[in-house]
Homo-oligomer: 317 residues x 2
């Protein structure tokens, strides 16, 4: 027995967005069908950043992702987020692989948005608005491109350099660098900012829009005007996590929104227990906080591919 | 930057019990002094076993231990417990090392018992009774030998083969394979069994004995007759964890013992906030459930030593 060691480069080479989307969608169905086990994330909060332990089990795979968020890292030439994932055989506990999960984290966040859009956005969506052009924006775009015929990507960021950089990284798409109003007037809008006060206002959003609210993943963070939540159909990845740290956490804390107004979880929609979009005029919102089943599902996919190649393996335990 | 990969063999070669004891004792002091961060363990319970994620941070080190318990593994030639630990720089989150923590788990459990004995057992303790001669018994013995002049080790197990095997593994000590009463009549007694009903009865224990209750680490497990707890000075590693899954969990659930009767935590004793043993006649009990700071402290020690040698390192993230 040996444990595969898979570096960031190797993992990146194995990630194909269409396969990732399929694996993550299956994980949400399995979770809703009671075939997954996932305790809450646990946080270690330190002076310069934090760490999150994200354990989960799915049919055929168990593991933990251990990921940091250190906002001061870029000044030292290091990424803000770095993640390592241990993948185990659930039947014996044997550690099958230790792999970089930094790329997996970016891919799964994009994939989960696209899955939400698949069920909640209008089928004929052609324009994608991206508000916040940081690291996570790229995978939002390529994931949506795997499921939608995108005619135009509309990019907005408070930092013009970020917009330019993102547009350059996706030469295969027609991009528009513009105002937040332009980005918001898209069929599908992804908010991918670290905002702590609403940036996307209700008045900017047209009927029939689907919004993926990605940025809010900790108490105090919010990207959408609460009025938007009130008039939209809201779907969350995880009820408990969304209420405490997702897009709805601040409005709930302020008494402007109630968890009872949430329409469903993503898994209920993907598994057909609740219908997705039923009316072309409805505004829909997916509140994404990120859950470990997404990471474990992709790690399982990566491991399966890695087993067919030659990679570093060690007798770790 | 690169991440060290340290296999079980390499880690085992670096573990020296006296150094381990020092590191773990410091970790308990740091924790009590507010210099450590440690959320609760989180469990993933599956059909054939479970996994525990144990994150923590200490001055200069952060990390997570990910460890399984699969009781059916030995029938397949695999260990019941296998552990992998990711050690990070707390200032940046960078993963410094990924290492086997199976040996670390065994060493830290022994080391923590010996630290408890250092403060709670009589200084002139010469006999060590070990009840339960499985995998964890060995490190209990070598850890105590690092701090006490042991004249005799008294071993008891329901399985005679286990007793023989343990005695053979410690030829440097005078051993007695005997009854549970003989083992119980020692200056220091370690209970290291998976018992779910008391095996160590109050009547077997002499005044002045110190007991390390190691086995109970999950709801429903108990090794000591509740009457023993009632008449002893009880010290725990972690108040919350001991109450829910340590030796005192069953007596508390049955209303036979109250958490308010606990004398102190181990960290309060090691840091001098509470005196240890004050009377040669008192029976003292340390209720050990295992906490992540123990593992992280040892991982930090191992990493420091590994940095001085040549070991496999990869650009993991």
């Amino acid at each position: 027995m040996a444990t595969l060691i898979l570096t960031k480069e190797i993992v990146r080479d194995m990630l194909q967005m269409d396969e990732v989307i399929k694996a993550v969608e299956q994980a949400f169905c399995d979770w809703t069908d009671g075939k997954a086990t996932m305790p809450s994330k646990s946080y270690v909060r330190l002076e310069k950043g934090d760490f999150r332990a994200m354990p989960a089990a799915l049919p055929g795979a168990a593991g933990v992702k251990w990921v940091n968020v250190h906002p001061g890292n870029p000044a030292q030439g290091l990424p803000t987020v770095m993640a390592v994932l241990i993948l185990n055989d659930p039947a014996t506990g044997y550690p099958l692989a230790v792999m970089d999960a930094t790329e997996i984290t970016a891919y799964r966040t994009g994939a989960t948005s696209a899955i939400a859009s698949k069920y909640l956005a209008r089928k004929d969506s052609q324009t994608l608005g991206v508000i916040g052009a940081g690291k996570q924006a790229y995978t939002q775009i390529i994931a949506h491109a795997a499921l939608f015929k995108l005619q135009e990507i509309r990019i907005y960021d408070i930092n013009p350099a970020n917009m330019e950089r993102l547009a350059k990284s996706i030469p295969q798409f027609k991009t528009v660098i513009g105002t937040i109003e332009q980005a918001a007037a898209s069929d599908i809008v992804c908010t991918v900012t670290p905002a702590r006060a609403p940036v996307l206002k209700s008045v900017m959003v047209h009927p029939g829009t689907h919004i993926n609210a990605i940025g809010a993943d900790a108490p105090g963070k919010e990207e959408l005007e609460p009025d938007l939540l009130k008039k939209a159909v809201v779907v969350v990845d995880d009820l408990r996590q969304a209420s405490s740290s997702g897009e709805i956490n601040v409005p709930i804390a302020k008494g402007l929104y109630s968890a009872s107004e949430i329409y469903s979880t993503l898994g209920e929609v993907t598994s057909g227990k609740k219908p997705g979009r039923t009316d072309p005029q409805t505004i829909t919102i997916f509140d994404s906080t990120g859950v470990a089943i997404e990471d474990i599902a992709i790690a399982q996919l990566v491991y399966g591919k890695a087993m067919m190649g030659e990679h570093l393996s060690v007798e770790l335990v």
